[in-house]
Amino acid sequence: MEVTHKQLRRCDLVTVSGRIDAATVKQLSDVLSEIKNAGRYNIVLNMKNVTYISSAGLSELIDTQNTCKQLNRGELVLAEVPDRIMDVLKLAGLTSLFKIFTTETEAVGYF
């Protein structure tokens, strides 16, 4: 799995690729924690090249969303979610928890 992070003017853009499972989720978690610990809570997660996500990965997304939304200080939104990953989000009943954008530009423009 690869995770890259770019701080933009109004939000932070995190791009993740590959498998998000119990072995790799810490890499993603570390990047997201660094952003939150710096007091920034508007986050776009581009999932275009994610090939797999397990409940370990989903739990990280839920935790991050809950932290960001506290006190209405921000939000985690998802961009370019592959069909297979969208199916998993739907199966777990999680699509209502995240705004999901077709393109990264739209997601960044939301903030």
């Binding site: 499972d21 119990a22 072995a23 397990s54 370990a56 998993v88 777990a92």
Partner: protein
């Protein structure tokens, strides 16, 4: 139909990828479509993660053995471990209609296993070994 195949790995999360590659290949050989292959991969990944986390109580404390057996209409994956016996009745399975922000990671893995597979059987521990039998049926004949 291809033959039965076995993989044994040490219980480390880094081996989840090796496990995924093994069951993905077996599911494809059993003639499954890509949706079915993904379902098998995910159910097995969740089961093995639970074994490392709960049955063994952490990484590097025991082995996981997987056997893939092609069936006339699908694939059976049997997962063996020597950790603490697991009673699925004691774990609350996620309700996908509950508020999403209240999800606990524990029940989510079990929820996926039950939703993605056609048969899920936690067999009682015998001779110190736990067995989980997972069966996925093919929608179409190859």
């Amino acid at each position: 139909m291809s033959r039965r195949q076995t993989l044994t790995v040490d219980g480390y999360y880094k081996n989840l990828k090796k496990i995924a590659d093994f069951v993905t290949a077996a599911a494809r050989q059993a003639g499954m479509d890509e949706d079915e292959v993904y379902a098998v991969q995910m159910a097995v990944d969740e089961a093995c993660t639970n074994i490392i986390e709960h049955a063994y109580g952490g990484e590097g404390r025991g082995k996981i053995r997987l056997t893939c057996q092609p069936l006339p209409n699908g694939l059976q994956v049997t997962i063996h471990d020597q950790g603490r016996p697991f009673d699925p009745a004691k774990v609350p399975v996620l309700n996908p209609n509950s508020p999403a922000e209240t999800r606990s990671p524990g029940g989510m893995g079990l929820f996926f296993i039950y939703r993605l597979m056609d048969r899920v059987e936690f067999q009682p521990s015998s001779a110190g070994e736990n067995r989980l039998v997972l069966v996925k049926q093919r929608k179409t004949q190859p």
